[in-house]
Amino acid sequence: MIHSIQSEWLKTRRSLASWLVVIGGLFIPLIFLYDRLRHFSTMAENNAKPGIWTYYFKQCWQYMSILLLPLGIILTVSLITQIEYRNNTWKQVHTTPQRLSTIFLAKLVVILTMLLQFFLIFNGGIWLIVALPSVFGTVDYPSAPIPLDTFGEFNHRFLVGSLPIVGLQYLLSLHFRNFMVPLGVGLAIFVATIIGLNWEYGYLIPYSYLSYFFMNNTQHLLDQGINIYYCALGYFAVFTGLAWLSYRYQRSKN
């Protein structure tokens, strides 16, 4: 299994998806960093505030969780999975002495690793917004400690909220040769999510959990006995199971 994962990881080298993870992870932090540098005069005063870390953490996640992360996952999962279709390499993969389940899981592990890589880069970017000016000695490093518990909790929730998107995009990208299908369906559900967030059954939309987690308005759902944390995990399990069945029983291995 480990060799299959290494092999799958090598395929992502210099790929569009790997660039997307790095650029997508740094995009919003760099905009905020630029904004901070533009208002240099207030930087020292802001760095002294106790809530400086939480402020930028929430600011960055606001754009990331609702808009960029779902789009990024839709694109990245499709690009990674479609590497085989695009290069006409499925037939070579399927004539190697690997079990189908190993191939399936190795690809999924690589996708999830890239998701974790993105979270690390993004959180690193948030740290840079606040810390970079201090590194160059222009302002003091914030005296307030980084609220690691809060950050960890939010990251954990966002990670779980991302999983249904990963699951469904993986299913679609494995099943359809045409890149436009997973992309089109993904974008359609994304738009439906934005429209459906105010709908009373909006929590049924599998791509909605990132927004719910960010808005932190899940109490009314909990009161009804609906735990969206488990909904997200459930959707991921169902989509991944369907992806496996679709892959396992595909008539032709291309």
Partner: protein, 310 residues
């Protein structure tokens, strides 16, 4: 000699109405270079895909290295190298990076990468991405991928597609070298017999999903000889025809020349002697052999029951 590949009763349907393979029996001898021939759409690729497990087996049996394929899928595939249709390459990676991907999967020594790059003559491609390779270089890298783990069996589907004549000759030499030095069994499909007749030791001919011929190349050559004819030009065709019919039985007059089926040298000499004795001037005696391509065309132009060669 044992069989490296042995199939019985392979049938394959794309749909209920569309049967693409009919009762295919293949016997590929160990250590041979087996030419799998047929026109485009004959069922070559479908058969090879079934052998590699790329298509789900519907009926019949496939034995490779003496083992049934399905229950031993992984162990068998670990000993097969393949190139099906176009080479499977990751266009954003270099040749070495492409080979590293498969080296990880097959768990073969890393020095095999340089070895197969040198063997296929693409060791100096450096940092060039395979997306920028010419078709010939891609084919070579496809062969390098197939050879990376030193397989016992190489399955190549139309590997000379898109190669120039020089490239075809080089590919042929490379495959011969691999077969002779390492004893690898090679199955090579093609729609052109002339392209591989100088390479193969055994031949299977498929047409419209049915096997038309299978056997050593020598046997096909015998078929060719049996279909050769003798053409005699004389000064008195009618008189000569009567004599020829008396001596050889079957003889016809075509365009003023006598056409006879293949005859041995003694009969030809005797016939010539008879013509001379009968005062018939003999201008020319020529043997006319069908080339293998014509035989191939004949085999693939008719159904098996109508086929005069079977």
């Amino acid at each position: 000699m044992g069989h490296c590949i042995h199939t019985t009763g392979l049938n394959y349907f794309f749909s209920k109405k569309e049967q693409v393979l009919h009762d295919i029996h293949l016997h590929v001898p160990e250590g041979s270079i087996y030419g799998f021939l047929g026109p485009n759409g004959a069922g070559k690729t479908t058969t090879l895909r079934l052998l590699l497990g790329l298509l789900r087996q519907q009926s019949g049996d496939i034995h490779i290295f003496g083992q049934p394929f399905e229950p031993n899928r992984q162990s068998i595939l670990g000993r097969i190298g393949s190139l099906i249709e176009s080479p499977s390459l990751y266009s954003h990676l270099t040749a070495r990076e492409n080979l590293m991907i498969w080296q990880k999967v097959y768990q073969c020594p890393k020095n095999r990468i340089e070895a197969v790059l040198r063997l296929t003559g693409i060791a100096d491609t450096g940092e060039k991405k395979t997306g920028q390779f010419s078709l010939g270089m891609k084919q070579r890298l496809g062969i390098a991928v197939a050879l990376l783990h030193a397989p016992r069996l190489l399955i190549l589907d139309e590997p000379t597609n898109g190669l120039d004549p020089g490239g075809i000759v080089e590919m042929r030499e490379l495959l011969r070298q691999i077969n002779q030095e390492s004893g690898i069994t090679i199955v090579i499909s093609s729609h052109l017999l002339s392209e591989i007749e100088k390479l193969v030791t055994d031949v299977g001919i498929i047409h419209r999903g049915k096997m038309q011929f299978e056997g050593p190349l020598d046997e096909l050559m015998r078929v060719r000889r049996s279909h050769s004819s003798l053409v005699i030009e004389t000064g008195a065709p009618d008189k000569a025809l009567a004599l020829a019919q008396q001596t050889c039985g079957e003889a016809r007059l075509i365009n003023g020349k006598i056409n006879l089926p293949h005859q041995d040298k003694t009969t030809i000499a005797a016939l010539n002697h008879q013509f001379v004795m009968a005062d018939i001037p003999v201008y020319q005696i020529t043997g006319k052999e069908d080339d293998l391509e014509s035989i191939f065309m004949q085999m693939t132009a008719t159904t098996p029951t109508q086929n005069p060669l079977l």
